[in-house]
C-alpha cells in the first residue's frame, strides 16, 4: 500500500490526524526548545556560555556530569545484562521473582531510592553503621552512581532480555558443534550479536543519568552536576539565562547520543527481532556459574526489597533511620496539609494526559510506519525529541515560552489607540496562568509520554501485515474506520503498555514539571522534593507510598479496562 503525498491529503481523516500531530510537535516540543535556545544564544547567554566552557569550576561541573553518565551507563547496562542473561540462559529457581524485582524500579518516585539508600547505607546507615559498623561515605559519585544504576537498569534489562530471547539459538549451536567452549561462544557469538543492544542501553542510561535531577540533590554532596545547576539557577536565583546556558550544555550530548542510538546503532543491528527463533535455547549448566550468578542476582533483589521496605516502613516511622516509633503523623501531615490536593491534582493531570498521549503516540506510529509521505522521518524525530531532551530543558523551555501569552497583533487599533491583537496561546505557566498552570503540566506529561507510546506502537505495527488493512480498505472502509476497527485492536497490547508507561512516567516525573508548578497546582513529586530537601524523610516516604499505591491501582484499572490478560502480559513484557 503506497500513498503518494497528494493521495494522503485527499484522505480527510489522515489529513486531520497529520495536522494535529504537526501542531502538537511544533507548539509543545519545538517552540519551547527553540525559545530556550534563543535565550541561551542571546548576547548575555553567549557570554555565560564562553565562561562556563573556559573556567575550571564550570568545566568540573561538565566533567562530573559526563563521568556520572558513563559510570551509570556501564554499570546499569552490566546489571541489566546480568539479569537478562540469567533470565533467558541460566537454569535457576525464582526466575519469576527476579523478573518482578527487575521491573519494580519502574515505579520509583524520585528521591525515594536515594533517600532510602541514605538511611540504610549512609554515614549513619542502619545497615552500613548499624550492622557492619562502617561509616560509609556515600555522598558524591559512588553513592550517586549506585542509586542511579539501581533505579535505571530496568531499561537495559528489558531491552537486552528481548534481544537475548530473539537471538537465534542456531548460531550458538553451530559454534558449539564446531567445538567452541561455552565461554568462547559467549565471547565470540553471543556478545557481538548483542552489541547493538548493549550500546543502545548504555546510551539510554547515559542520557537518563546526566539528566537526572532528584538523586544528585539528595546524594550529590560536593559532586555537582549540570542538572542541579539548572535547577538552582531557576528556583534559587531565578536566573533563566544562566539556566538556559547550563541546559544547552546538557542538551548537546543528549541529542548526540539520541541520534547515534536511533540512527546508527539500529542500523548495525544483526538480529532480526521480528523473526521467530528456531530451536531450543541452550541453558548454562555449569553449577559454579549458575549458582554464582544466582547469588549475585538474588543479592540485588534483596537490596531492592530492602530499599522499598525502608520506604514503606519509613512512612510510618517518627524519624526514619533514627527513631522508629510507629506513627501515622506523616500521613496525617500529607493528607491534612496540602497533600491531598497534590494527590488529586497529580492523579487528575496524569489521567488526562495518559489517554491523549497513548492515542497520539499510536496515531503517529500509524502515520510513520504505514503511510509514505515526505517528512515522516521528521515527525518521528520531532516526537522523539520529547524524551530525548532532558526533562529540565523541556521545563525551562515551557517556562520561557509560555510565561507570556503569544499574541498576534493586528494592523488595527481600538478606540483607546491600543493595538488590537488575538491571543494565540494564553499564558500557561507562572503566576495567574491559564487554569493555574494545569494545562502546561498536562502538556508536558503528554510530551514526555508520547515517545514511548510511539515506539511501542511502531514496534507492534511493523509486525502486522499491511494486507489486513488493505483488505479493509478494498472492502470500502475509509482509513479512519480501518484504523479504529482493524489496526487498533491488533496493537492493543502495545497500546496498553504505552498507556501504563505513560501514566507511571507522568506520576513520577519531577525534572520536567518542577519549574511549572504554581500555588494553584500542587504536584506530588514537587511536594516530595520539598519534604526531602528539608530533611523530613517521613513525610516524603508517606507521599511515596501513596504515589506507588496510585500507580499500582491505575495499572490494575488499565489492565481491566483495556487489556485481556494475555494481551496485557505481552504488552508489559515486550514494551514498557
Amino acid at each position: 500500500m503506497s500513498f503518494s503525498g497528494g493521495r494522503l491529503f485527499r484522505d480527510p481523516v489522515l489529513a486531520v490526524g497529520l495536522v494535529v500531530v504537526v501542531a502538537f510537535i511544533l507548539i509543545s516540543i519545538l517552540y519551547p526548545i527553540m525559545t530556550m535556545l534563543g535565550v541561551a544564544f542571546s548576547a548575555d547567554g553567549l557570554a555565560l556560555l564562553v565562561k562556563y566552557l573556559t573556567e575550571r569550576i564550570y568545566l568540573n561541573l561538565v566533567g562530573n556530569t559526563f563521568l556520572l553518565g558513563i559510570v551509570v551507563g556501564v554499570a546499569g547496562t552490566a546489571l541489566g545484562f546480568l539479569f537478562a542473561y540469567v533470565q533467558v540462559k541460566v537454569d535457576v529457581p525464582f526466575k519469576r521473582f527476579m523478573h518482578l524485582m527487575a521491573l519494580v524500579p519502574l515505579i520509583s518516585p524520585p528521591f525515594a531510592l536515594a533517600t532510602a539508600f541514605l538511611i540504610l547505607f549512609g554515614r549513619n546507615g542502619l545497615i552500613s553503621k548499624g550492622v557492619f559498623g562502617v561509616r560509609a561515605d556515600v555522598y558524591g559519585l559512588s553513592g550517586l552512581s549506585f542509586v542511579l544504576t539501581l533505579s535505571l537498569f530496568t531499561v537495559a534489562y528489558l531491552n537486552l532480555k528481548g534481544m537475548l530471547q530473539a537471538l537465534d539459538p542456531a548460531m550458538e549451536e553451530a559454534a558449539t558443534n564446531l567445538g567452541a567452549s561455552r565461554w568462547h561462544v559467549f565471547r565470540t557469538v553471543t556478545l557481538p550479536m548483542l552489541l547493538p543492544g548493549i550500546l543502545s542501553s548504555f546510551l539510554l542510561l547515559f542520557v537518563e543519568a546526566i539528566a537526572d535531577l532528584g538523586n544528585p540533590l539528595v546524594l550529590g554532596g560536593d559532586f555537582e552536576v549540570l542538572a542541579m545547576r539548572v535547577y538552582v539557577s531557576v528556583i534559587g536565583l531565578y536566573d533563566t539565562t544562566a539556566a538556559s546556558v547550563f541546559a544547552i550544555i546538557l542538551l548537546l550530548p543528549a541529542l548526540l547520543v539520541f541520534v547515534v542510538q536511533r540512527y546508527w546503532v539500529n542500523r548495525i543491528s544483526v538480529i532480526t527481532v521480528t523473526g521467530k527463533p528456531t530451536g531450543n535455547v541452550q541453558m548454562i549448566e555449569n553449577p559454579w556459574i549458575r549458582w554464582t550468578l544466582f547469588a549475585v542476582i538474588m543479592a540485588f533483589c534483596v537490596l531492592i526489597i530492602l530499599l522499598y521496605a525502608s520506604i514503606f516502613i519509613g512512612a510510618f516511622a517518627r524519624v526514619p533511620g533514627v527513631n522508629h516509633e510507629f506513627t501515622l503523623k506523616n500521613f496525617e501531615f500529607v493528607i491534612k496539609g496540602y497533600g491531598s490536593e497534590a494527590m488529586v491534582d497529580t492523579t487528575l493531570f496524569s489521567v488526562v494526559a495518559t489517554p491523549i498521549a497513548g492515542i497520539l503516540g499510536i496515531v503517529i506510529a500509524f502515520l510513520v510506519v504505514r503511510k509514505k509521505f515526505r517528512g515522516r522521518a521528521l515527525i518521528d524525530f520531532g516526537t522523539m525529541l520529547g524524551i530525548a531532551v532532558p526533562g529540565t530543558i523541556i521545563g525551562i523551555g515551557f517556562l520561557l515560552a509560555f510565561n507570556v501569552p503569544s499574541n498576534i497583533y493586528l494592523p488595527f487599533q481600538d478606540a483607546a489607540g491600543q493595538p488590537l491583537y488575538i491571543t494565540l496561546i494564553p499564558k500557561l505557566t507562572g503566576g495567574r496562568a491559564l487554569l493555574g498552570g494545569a494545562l502546561a503540566i498536562v502538556l508536558v506529561y503528554i510530551v514526555r509520554s508520547v515517545p514511548a507510546a510511539l515506539r511501542s506502537g511502531a514496534g507492534a505495527l511493523s509486525q502486522i501485515d499491511p494486507a489486513i488493512e488493505e483488505a479493509s480498505i478494498s472492502l470500502g472502509a475509509d482509513s479512519g474506520l480501518t484504523f479504529r476497527k482493524i489496526t487498533l485492536p491488533l496493537i492493543r497490547p502495545a497500546f496498553l503498555s504505552g498507556l501504563i508507561y505513560a501514566f507511571a512516567r507522568s506520576m513520577t516525573t519531577i525534572s520536567a514539571i518542577v519549574f511549572l508548578t504554581t500555588p494553584q497546582t500542587r504536584i506530588m513529586t514537587q511536594q516530595i522534593l520539598n519534604e526531602t530537601e528539608q530533611g523530613r524523610f517521613g513525610n516524603a516516604f508517606a507521599y511515596c507510598v501513596i504515589l506507588i499505591g496510585i500507580v499500582l491501582a491505575a495499572m490494575a484499572v488499565l489492565y481491566f479496562v483495556v487489556g485481556s490478560t494475555t494481551g496485557a502480559e505481552r504488552g508489559l513484557e515486550g514494551g514498557a
Binding site: G321, V322, N323, P355, G436, V442, P489, G535
Partner: protein, 368 residues
C-alpha cells in the same frame, strides 16, 4: 467495538477533568518562607477566619526575593510572609514592597517596623550551631562554641549549611561573621566601648570592604569542612540529626524544633561565644499585588496575637514580636546570648552583591 468506546470515554473524561480543575477562585496567594508546616498552619487559620481562599508557595528567602523580582511586572504573589528582614529590606529598596500602615503594629518596637511601613517584623530568632552529640563524641570534638571551632580539621566534611544566595538562614550566619570581622578591625584590642580605628566600619556604620574580605577568607577556609550547601536553610539540621554530619549552622529555634520532633537527646544547640547574629522575620505586601485587600488583611493577621500564636501549633519557637503573644518556654532566651550589632539595613542593601560573590568565590569550589 469495545475498545473504541473505551477510548472515547477516556477522551471525554480527560476533557471534562481538565475543565473541572478549579477555575482560579483563589483570592490570596502567599509567598511563604518559614517551614512548610507553619505555612500550612497560618494559611489555614487565615482562611478559616476570613473565608478567603488562601494558597501558598514555600521558597527560601533568597529564592523568594529572586522570584518577586522576576515577576515584578505581573506579580505572582500578593504577600510575602516570613524569612529574615534583610531580604525584605533589599526588596523594599527595589520598590518591590508596598507601604501599608497596619493598625495591628501598635505597641511594636521600632526595629520591627520597616522604613515607610514597607515591612513589619513578626518574629526573632538567633543563629546557632546544631550538633549531633554522638557524632561529636566519635570525632573527639566538643560542641562548637565559637566560629573558629568550626574550622577544626577533625570536622572535615562534617559541617553543613545552606547557600547564602538562596537561604536567609545562611545569609544571616554570613552577615554575622562579617560583623564580627568588622568589630575585630574596629576594636583590635577587644574593648568594644573604646574609640574605634575606623578600619572595621565606614562612617555610616557599614562594614568595610576589608571586613567583608576577611569574612570571605573565613568561609573559604570553612568550605573545606562543608559537606554540602543546601538550598533551604533548615535542611542541614535533619542531616545532623541523622548523623550524616556533625554540625549544622542553622537558626537555633529550628534546632530546638527538631529536638522536639524526634531528635531528642540526639541534637544539641550551642552558640558562638564571641557573638551570634539574629533575624527579624518579616512580612510585607508585594507592590502591584493582584489581591491587595486580602494581602493587607493577611499582614494584619500576621501581626496579631492570633496569627502569631499559630507558631506554637507547629513547634515554631521563634520569639514573637507582638508583645501580647505568649512566648513558648522552649524559646531561646535572648538575654542570655551575646548578640552582634546586626545592621539589617546594610545587610539588606549588600545582600544580592554578597550572595553572588559567595556563589562565585566560595560555594562552587569543591572542598579541597
Amino acid at each position: 467495538m469495545k475498545l473504541t468506546r473505551t477510548i472515547t470515554i477516556l477522551l471525554f473524561l480527560s476533557v471534562f477533568g481538565l475543565l473541572a480543575v478549579r477555575a482560579q477562585e483563589d483570592t490570596l496567594t502567599v509567598l511563604c518562607t518559614p517551614q512548610e508546616d507553619w505555612c500550612v498552619a497560618i494559611t489555614q487559620a487565615f482562611q478559616e477566619k476570613t473565608g478567603i481562599q488562601t494558597s501558598y508557595v514555600r521558597l527560601s528567602s533568597g529564592e523568594a526575593l529572586a522570584r518577586i523580582r522576576a515577576s515584578a511586572s505581573d506579580p505572582e504573589f500578593s504577600i510575602w510572609w516570613g524569612g529574615p528582614a534583610d531580604a525584605y529590606i533589599a526588596a523594599a529598596e527595589e520598590g518591590l514592597l508596598e507601604s501599608y500602615e497596619s493598625p495591628n503594629a501598635e505597641g511594636f518596637e521600632p526595629r520591627f517596623i520597616g522604613e515607610n511601613n514597607s515591612w513589619y517584623g513578626i518574629y526573632m530568632g538567633a543563629t546557632g550551631f546544631c550538633s549531633n552529640v554522638q557524632m561529636l563524641e566519635e570525632l573527639g570534638v566538643d560542641a562548637p562554641t565559637s566560629w573558629a571551632d568550626l574550622l577544626n580539621p577533625k570536622l572535615k566534611g562534617m559541617v553543613a549549611m545552606a547557600h547564602p544566595a538562596t537561604s536567609g538562614t545562611a545569609f544571616t550566619a554570613f552577615w554575622t561573621v562579617i560583623t564580627l570581622e568588622a568589630d575585630k578591625l574596629e576594636h583590635p584590642d577587644g574593648d568594644m566601648e573604646g574609640e574605634g580605628t575606623g578600619e572595621g566600619y565606614t562612617e555610616d556604620g557599614v562594614p568595610t570592604q576589608a571586613a567583608i574580605d576577611n569574612a570571605f577568607a573565613y568561609f573559604s577556609e570553612l568550605n573545606n569542612n562543608i559537606l554540602q550547601y543546601t538550598r533551604s536553610g533548615l535542611a542541614s539540621g535533619p542531616m545532623a540529626g541523622r548523623g550524616e554530619i556533625a554540625v549544622s549552622i542553622i537558626f537555633s529555634h529550628d534546632c530546638i524544633k527538631l529536638q522536639v520532633e524526634g531528635f531528642e537527646g540526639i541534637l544539641t544547640t550551642t552558640f558562638p561565644e564571641e557573638g551570634t547574629g539574629y533575624e527579624i522575620g518579616g512580612v510585607g505586601v508585594i507592590t502591584g499585588a493582584h489581591e491587595p485587600e486580602a494581602a493587607r488583611m493577611f499582614l494584619d493577621f500576621a501581626l496579631s496575637v492570633e496569627g502569631q500564636s499559630t507558631a506554637q501549633q507547629v513547634n515554631a519557637f521563634q520569639i514573637p514580636t507582638n508583645p501580647g503573644t505568649p512566648v513558648s518556654e522552649m524559646s531561646v532566651d535572648f538575654s542570655q546570648l551575646q548578640l552582634v550589632d546586626y545592621n539589617f539595613v546594610a545587610a539588606g542593601s549588600l545582600r544580592t552583591e554578597l550572595a553572588e560573590r559567595f556563589d562565585k568565590e566560595v560555594a562552587p569550589q569543591p572542598a579541597e
